[in-house]
């Protein structure tokens, strides 16, 4: 039952993080964004067991795909296929990393959050380059990819502490079941 609650709380946090990150001001000088969504996603797939984590990844793909949806001449620029593949892929990688490091830790969450952020932004850029043509890489583009990724490393421990206090069920689950899941306090 605890796992159901954990899943539900994380499933609510996911859209909330999308709404909140839209309200955060962009950073100078190139208008870089702070992204909470990939950091919350990384927490979710590390805290949940495999099957619920895959369901969580599908939800993340649906939300992210819809938020970025732009329809041009009746065609969506980035549909849901790429987000589904991306988030399911990262779920499997993070689950394997969690198994290999014997459970979830704030360090793993920080590194995972930063890597998900980096690959997500860079992947979107590459997809747009392929779809629209051109490959306009300059300092501002690199900063737009690098700054949110570095910021994710700094944001992740704060979110980890915050989410652990909001989601103590994950820790209880790990202790009760002896499973390598749930955040370590």
């Amino acid at each position: 039952m605890n796992r159901v609650f954990l899943f539900l709380i994380l499933a609510l946090l996911l859209p909330l993080s999308l709404a909140v990150q839209d309200l955060l001001p962009s950073l100078p000088p190139f208008g870089e964004r702070l992204l909470l969504f990939p950091v919350v996603f990384a927490f979710g797939v590390l805290a949940l067991p495999l099957v619920p984590a895959l369901g969580f990844a599908l939800l993340a793909a649906l939300l992210q795909g819809l938020m970025l949806l732009q329809v041009q001449a009746g065609q969506s620029e980035i549909g849901l296929t790429l987000p589904v593949v991306f988030f399911l892929g990262w779920t499997i990688v993070l689950q394997m990393a969690s198994e290999a490091t014997r459970g979830m830790s704030w360090e793993l969450h920080a590194v995972g959050g930063a890597l998900v952020t980096f690959t997500m932004i860079a992947g979107q850029f590459l997809t747009l380059c392929i779809k629209r043509g051109g490959f306009p890489v300059d300092l501002s583009i690199l900063m737009r990819i690098a700054v949110p990724s570095v910021a994710a490393i700094l944001l992740a421990p704060l979110l980890y502490l915050l989410l652990c206090s909001f989601v103590p069920l994950a820790a209880d689950e790990a202790q009760a079941g002896g499973m390598p899941k749930g955040p370590a306090h």
Binding site: L18, D22, S140
Partner: protein, 265 residues
Amino acid sequence: MKKILITALVLLAVAAIALCSLEAGPLLHLKSGLLGLLSPVSRSGGAVKSSIGSLGKDLMTLDQLQAEYDRVLAENRKLRAENNGLRDLQQENNHLREILGYRERSSFRLVPATVIGHDAGVWWSTVKINRGARDGIAADMPVITDKGLVGKTTAVSDSVSEVLLVTDENCKVAAKVEGTKEQGIVAGTRSPGGELQLTFLSKLADLQPGQKVYTAGVSGGIFPSGIALGTVKSFRARELDGMAVLDPAADPASLEEVFVVTGAK
């Protein structure tokens, strides 16, 4: 236990395939639904953000307050003097408008809106506004400020809409250059910075910095003619056409209040 696990995995696979096979139309409906779902957070967050912003702006020292008071007093005297002169001009203007039917030809029905959130992604230039279908907003409606064109609505929920800014690479607008017969297509760039590009101009177009660019209002298009798009910053001839870089008329970084054009008056 194994059966449940396999069933769950099969269901997840079916869900993933179903999501991947959704077409643009149903996806746009789903996006409108998601915007509606998130609208309470977006709207209240936007209001809080605006209050915090105005709180910082309102805090001033006594010296600053005195200087502001003096400035406002002087401005008040100047405006009173101007106002007396403008009354006559207003009457004359009304008279001329009646004669020319100007109001009927060029006035828009506008719905005022406040920007409550910025870009949903890193590579797209969009904002969210606090007006939606219940205010008469629909997809593909032009959004303007008193300075010029801002963009167009894309996804619309009951109370929140997403606006694709003119500085986005995907927002393409037919444009004409003031004082010339040059016409082209204005679009944003992928690089941040908020500049616009006017392409498909004649290679021999002799555009000068400072020339104004307006919407051309092509038939079947969504943008009416004559809305300011920007000012020419530079021009260069390319292999096949001419390309001008423009400063946008409405600065996307400082958007707060906008108007959605819901039709002509």
